[in-house]
Symmetry: C2
Subunit: 349 residues, 2 copies
């Protein structure tokens, strides 16, 4: 309970000056072997531990990363990215503060503010909720990394190529003989915080579906498409939404034999709808998800377009820590991967 020992206590016990103590702690300056021994002994005896608060102040460097998470709870995606961030951060001797905003821009603003007050070395937004918060961070002059959405200039960006993944998934379905392929997912039309003309995650996924169909000479019929703002992983997209969309699709004008679903969470709901109707996957319907969060746990195990979640986090940290010229902002684009499991099968006639 009493205050932790300081360098001063160590100095007193080993009868040397403060300067000498820090010399042995950092192993830099020259110290007589006998003196070093005495000091090391004193460090052990006192149970001394460097006070990072003092050190950080002195060095004006906290070796700390502030990680803003959109919603760690709704979608395992965030937890995985957070893990990657942490892992890479620790490898570089940094610690990470986490700030969960649950999709709310005001909380995100608070997070940025306290991170700035805490003098974190850099800030990572794993999917920024509001553009102005990223700008706020950028203006503070520290390295900022934005994941999955380029919300502001003046920051590094980690992107994932969802389009190619979607195309691969479509090709797989087409190869299996499917011609009526539906799509369920987030609304690509809603306004996202973005600064460039790049496609959002949702847009890329739908585009992959559409182009896959068109290149095969098939019509990307609106009857096969079910998108909506509440089908996005950022909202409370519980399975319920996916189930609803699947029911709607099955009751629609064109009956698909396969469906590409914009997230594993929605696919989970879709699977429930199918089960409730007594439809078998993949015999009666093939399904491919996105993300690879829940996929392996679902019944049947879901084929999905996997995102390199850990690597996203790692890349973000590398960008944050990497020395770079002023005004030299990088974009890292990682690829997605089609994982085949048990939810797809050949078209039955």
């Amino acid at each position: 309970m009493s205050r932790p020992p300081t360098i001063k206590d160590v100095a007193a016990l080993s009868e040397v000056s403060l300067a000498t103590v820090t010399r042995v702690i950092h192993g830099n300056g020259p110290v007589a072997v006998e003196t070093r021994r005495r000091v090391e002994q004193a460090i052990r005896d006192t149970g001394y531990r460097v006070n990072f608060v003092a050190r950080d102040l002195r060095l004006s460097d906290t070796r700390t990363i502030g990680h803003i998470l959109h919603a760690i709870t709704q979608n395992p995606f965030f937890a995985e990215v957070a893990l990657g961030v942490e892992d890479e951060a620790h490898a570089h001797g940094h610690n990470v503060f986490i700030y969960n905003v649950q999709g709310r821009a005001e909380r995100e603003a608070e997070g940025v503010k306290t991170f700035l007050n805490r003098r974190v070395s850099s800030i990572i937004f794993t999917t920024a909720a509001a553009q102005e918060n990223v700008v706020q961070a950028v203006e503070a002059g520290l390295p900022v990394v934005q994941v999955e959405r380029r919300a502001a200039v003046g920051a590094h960006t980690v992107l994932v190529d969802n389009y190619t993944g979607a195309r691969r998934a479509m090709q797989h379905l087409l190869d299996l003989g499917h011609r009526m392929i539906g799509y369920i997912g987030g609304d690509p039309g809603r306004s996202d915080p973005r600064v460039s003309g790049e496609l959002t995650v949702e847009e890329q996924r739908v585009a992959g579906w559409r182009d896959g169909l068109r290149d095969a000479g098939l019509a990307a019929d609106a009857d096969l498409l079910r998108v909506g703002p509440y089908l996005s992983f950022e909202h409370d997209a519980f399975g319920g939404e996916g189930a609803r969309a699947m029911h709607d699709l099955l009751d629609g004008g064109k009956l698909p034999t396969a469906v590409l679903v914009g997230s594993d969470i929605l696919a989970a709901g879709a699977l429930q709808a199918l089960y409730a109707r007594g439809l078998h996957v993949p015999d009666d319907m093939s399904l491919i998800g996105f993300d690879d969060t829940l996929a392996a746990h679902l019944t049947p195990a879901l084929s999905t377009v996997a995102l390199p979640m850990r690597e996203i986090g790692r890349a973000a940290v590398r960008l944050a820590l990497e020395p770079h010229e002023d005004g030299d902002f990088k974009t890292v684009t990682l690829s997605s991967d089609l994982y085949l499991r048990h939810s797809t099968g050949p078209l039955r006639r």
Copy 2:
């Protein structure tokens, strides 16, 4: 970028002393209304932001919580608890450092060390990996909270009453007419870091199964039980383990009509095994899981004994922050809840 402005810059710009500036910042001491206006203007003009590193040093209080997580990624349980911790922490003006140990005791030890160096105000172990690490933290003299396992004395503890939840689940199954009820789950026999005679999470769950059966005059037959170290949520308990256990159970001497499964993750695997065999849930087999992590997403939606995950995190923070006498360590025990969904049904004859 240039260094952030300090209190000194504000003082210079508004032509007052440092003391006056802090007075308006803290709104405590007496300040002339006109002076206050000038200082506030200067704060805005400079974009001044309190430097928490300096403040923390001065006050020797970081208002920071170190949260050690067993494995945030394997089981959504940890992410949910982390969310509760964060939420409550922010409500009390604290920020939280996260340290993920992925089940490894050495990493946990590192985490404790760096938290101590960073002078966190308190440490929370959401399921400690090794007893000595908790002891280490306790000896540093700061408030320590351990979740789900009492690994050491001298620390607060947040427990969940899994036993009653398991009993309730059993009662539900019995009420539906089931008599042959199996159990799949983590090994209650392995040595956990614990200091008291309390039952571990796994022990409570199995005990609930056993006692439920016995009180109904039924035999808790070993043929109906499948437990093993790799069936615990702490290991890489992928669905595969749950599937294996279910297959094994179905191929065993006694065929259950219902199974209580020690975690949603294992239940997910069990569901896959059933599906693969063409068995319908709940018509051919009733299933109840534990945790309420994946449950709502599974097919069919899984009935489960839900843990109050967020509340666990909140309670942990409250214990950590609550002023308490020296040597006065509290234990908060939260209850679990049976959530009924679509995986249980009446016994078919």
